[in-house]
């Protein structure tokens, strides 16, 4: 029957399979694949689904810990938060689709990550978004910002899950490849987690959700190649989202999950029915037979190839216990969703697809999954940049520099973005967007989660190892700064073409840095996503390993960054060496991206962070902020702008150039506002943590001895104006 296959190595190459990969597929099948089988191999062995370039590196990451219930490999990571509850979370990219069609690309990115979380039995309670766009001067940037933000809002607002945080940066290296990373966090009972491994030969395989159409065919393959200038022609590979159906799917699945009908469940994400059925069968060590004539279709005349590779949204695959179909069908009928028995679990270990009375494909699952190619791609270690001597830089008016920095695209307020997201629905948002971390209540007893997404790509380019470690450390710091105990993280590794050794070197370095920081901070990786090929015509993005962090905090302990009381002291925690290499100051004021990023001393991170958390929990801090982009003066300005109060600084130390002290980006630092500086300083001495008073809260301006003053209102106006003004320009 398949003797007549007209699949050639050339057609395989068009599907993104190398000659060697094609030969391997032929060897597994024992004959030349038909076009449906070719499509399945190409999707499963795409970079997007197989992680073939990253697998050897990802395996080195620490993924376990006393609280970890489920690490990477399932739809999302699961971490115990006590009292029988678990937090379920993951971050995922939708970079390529969002560049081609920003609204739908971003919207379906949110939809996909929501499904990853509720598939595991969790109710989604928060979304975060990490966004990177090209230079503000690039002609497409405004259109992309507008489309992505309304796409995220359009989806998240409608499903009724609050978008509580994230980050947004601009750099010309993203001109041809924007980054849209969406993170979802959900809550489940720790003993009611649902997994994807098929079990029980004979059990029915159920298709639920929206109907299958021709949208998004080969999205996974599209996302596994770099763009050339014809990116716009790829629009038909982008899927279209329907948040209303997603909302119904969430409610229907969670209702069904209250019973014990489900044996296994998997959402249909990239490569749709192909990857969901193959992964379920593969994890269970079993086979699956599907009758494609029973798949609910939106269009007529779809081939087996199209049905298997469609990436239509809002669909799931389930394996049910025998006899539970009637009850399950009733729940889906109530929510007006398709429910179709489309196959069964078998003992054959093969994926067998039937259509029109014929066998459309027959592939052994185990080699399809385990014989997927794994590459030890060659990589180059990055050369470190020479240090920047701060004394070699001009001495500039610090407040003029500050005004410039707070109005720069990196530090400018992102209110224009997050006000378009419903960040309050579900009535649990304790700390709204705009702070170090968002805080969301998860129990009436006052338990809450702190959530943040972080990365400093310019550091990662200058030194991938340090940059990777810094991203983890900053995430950990942001959670600590609101009083939380960091639990675990999810990583979204956004890089260029891994077939280029220098890009693979960036990836390997970032992984090494992340690994070291995770180990030092007891902050394991429980889920993640890799997005390669973020390049256009050979020009790659900055290496961008985004870290999505989750921490646990009692609501009574939560602090934010707003200055609270005149007369309080501001204490700087951590050591200041005036490191200006790779800093925001250097880029925005001196127009240079030179120098190495600041060293990351993980022992100091740990010591200083644990100390600050202790100070917060002891009730000695009424506000706290971590130091990052723009250093000390930017951090104090953010505290002042948020709280609407001024600060009078102590005389500056004389052993460093003024602006190196004020704008240096040394790590492991925080500012704490306290009414009781003596207690905090004494505790710091006892803990061996550097701490000193840098100023006092009061007035309506920032005042520096020898440098005059700048009004907090003026700073806020500059900080708030940039993004709305930019977006209002035609």
């Amino acid at each position: 029957m398949r003797g007549g296959s007209n699949v050639t190595p050339a057609l395989a190459a068009e599907h993104g399979l190398t000659e060697e990969e094609f030969d391997r597929a032929v060897g597994i099948l024992g004959h030349t694949p038909n076009v449906t089988e070719l499509g399945i191999f190409s999707a499963m062995w795409s970079e997007h689904c197989s992680y073939k370039s990253s697998k050897v590196w990802l395996k080195t990451l620490p993924t376990t810990g006393p609280r970890v219930i489920c690490g990477p490999g399932e739809n999302a990571g699961v971490v115990d938060i006590g009292d029988g509850d678990a937090v379920v979370f993951k971050i995922e990219s939708h970079n390529h689709p969002s560049f081609i069609e920003p609204y739908q690309g971003a919207a379906t990115g949110v939809g996909g990550i929501l499904r990853d979380v509720f598939t595991m039995g969790a109710r989604p309670i928060a979304i975060l978004d990490s966004l990177r766009f090209g230079s503000p001067d690039h002609p497409r940037t405004r259109h992309l910002v507008s489309g992505v933000v309304s796409g995220i809002g359009g989806y998240g607002n409608c499903v009724g899950v609050p978008t509580v945080g994230g980050e947004c940066e601009f750099h010309r290296c993203y001109d041809g490849n924007i980054l849209v990373n969406a993170m979802c966090v959900g809550i489940a009972r720790a003993d009611r987690i649902f997994y994807s491994a098929a079990a029980g030969p004979g059990n029915p395989v159920i298709y639920i959700g929206a109907k299958t159409g021709r949208d998004g065919i080969h999205g996974a393959t599209m996302a596994s190649a770099e763009f050339s200038s014809d990116a716009g022609e790829k629009r038909p590979t982008v899927q279209v989202g329907d948040p209303f159906t997603e909302k119904l799917l969430i409610e229907a699945c969670l209702e069904l999950m209250e019973g014990d009908a489900i044996v296994a469940i998997q959402d249909m994400g990239a490569a749709g029915l192909t990857s969901s059925s193959v992964e379920m069968a593969g994890k269970g060590g079993l086979g699956i037979e599907l009758d494609l004539d029973r798949v609910p279709l939106r269009e007529t005349g779809m081939s087996a190839y199209e049905i298997m590779l469609s990436e239509s949204q809002e669909r799931m695959l389930m394996i049910l216990r025998p006899g539970s179909e009637i009850d399950a069908r009733r729940i889906f009928a109530k929510w007006e969703l398709d429910f179709a028995v489309i196959g069964r679990v078998t003992e054959t270990g093969r994926l067998v697809l039937r259509m029109n009375g014929e066998i459309a494909a027959d592939i052994p699952v185990e080699p399809l999954v385990t014989a997927a190619p794994v590459y030890q791609r060659p990589w180059l270690r990055h050369h470190s940049e020479p240090e920047i001597d701060p004394a070699s830089l001009p001495d500039r008016d610090p407040f003029e520099c500050l005004r410039c920095l707070v109005a720069s695209p990196t530090l400018a307020s992102k209110r224009w973005i997050w006000e378009q997201y419903d960040h309050l629905v579900m009535g649990s948002t304790v700390k709204r967007p705009g702070g170090d971390a968002a805080v969301v209540r998860v129990s009436a007893a006052g338990k809450a989660l702190a959530l943040a997404a972080d990365c400093t790509p310019r550091y990662c380019r200058a030194d991938p190892v340090r940059g990777g470690a810094q991203a983890v450390a900053e995430s950990w710091r942001n959670l600590t700064a609101v009083g939380a105990e960091p639990l675990a993280l999810t990583d979204n590794m956004n890089f260029g073409n891994p077939e280029r050794p220098e890009i693979m070197g960036e990836f390997a370095g970032a992984i090494e840095g992340i690994r070291g920081a995770c180990l030092a901070l007891d902050y394991p990786v429980v889920s993640g996503n890799v997005s390669f090929y973020n390049e256009t015509n050979g020009s790659a993005i900055l290496p961008t390993p985004v870290i999505g962090g989750v921490g646990l905090v009692a609501i009574r302990d939560v602090v934010d960054l707003a200055l609270k009381r005149d007369g309080d002291a501001l204490i700087l925690i951590g050591e200041t060496n005036g490191h200006l290499g790779c800093s925001l100051y250097l880029r925005e004021i001196e127009n240079s991206e030179a120098g190495p990023p600041p060293p990351v001393d993980l022992a100091a991170e740990r010591r200083n962070g644990d100390f600050v958390r202790g100070v917060i929990r002891a009730g000695h801090a009424v506000a706290c902020h971590d130091l990052s982009d723009g250093g000390l003066l930017a951090a104090v300005a953010e505290m002042a702008m948020t709280g609407g109060r001024g600060v009078t600084f102590e005389p500056l130390p004389t052993d460093l150039p003024r602006n190196a002290f004020l704008f240096g980006e040394d790590q492991a630092r925080y500012i704490v506002e306290t009414a009781d500086p003596d207690t905090v300083l004494e505790a710091a001495r006892a803990a061996g943590v550097p701490a000193h008073v840098i100023g006092a809260v009061g007035g309506v301006a920032l005042t520096l001895p020898g440098a005059g003053a700048i009004s907090v209102d003026a700073l806020r106006a500059a900080n708030e104006a940039w993004l709305p003004d930019y977006m209002a320009q035609a």
């Binding site: 359009g154 409608c158 209303f244 109530k334 960040h423 309050l424 579900m426 009535g427 209540r441």
Partner: protein
Amino acid sequence: MRAVVVIFPGSNRERDVCAALALVIGREPVRVWHRDTDMPRSDLIVLPGGFAYGDYLRCGAMAAHSPIMHEVRDRAAKGTPILGICNGFQILAEAGMLPGALLPNRSLRFTCRDIHLRVENNQTIFTCGYAARQTIRVPVAHHDGNYTADPDTLDRLEDRGLVAFRYCGPDGDLSEAGNFNGSARAIAGIFNNSRTVLGLMPHLENAVDPLLGGTDGRAFFEGLVGALQ
């Protein structure tokens, strides 16, 4: 007192309003599914926020024709108080139970933020928890909250004291700056003629807990429950 919250497919702020009512009443309201035609006896019917049926057509247009709306209309005619919040207000307007319509915000963007409201008429079951002309700070979260009606209708609403809330500045001033979504005469909420039906865009239910950013909505629910008990 017994409150009923109607759930449409796509409702998403039912939890929020149920929590606010439970806080004041002491027990959870009854949730009624949109397909139910048999509404339990109740002292208050709430149409919560969300995107009923996805709102891919005009907001509230499909929900206004849902089977449960016949029952809501009957109960309203018999005097049962009806509260429509955000999407609920849009549904009441589309169902013709309140005059006017909700257009896209002036910015053409979804907007979620705290805003200020001035209480225009506190002589009703809904607003009796507030002082006359009191200014409160509560959140909004909508894309289509720009209230509009013909000038005669607007005059009638004003003359009969049927304007419940207006958007205003922090000091209660009715400047254009406070009218963030461009509503006609800065109207944020209106009553029907008998002042037993209220539709409003802001989410008072998201302002009842000091841990969650404010408590200015609490007096609304306390006043309402007090009046109905």
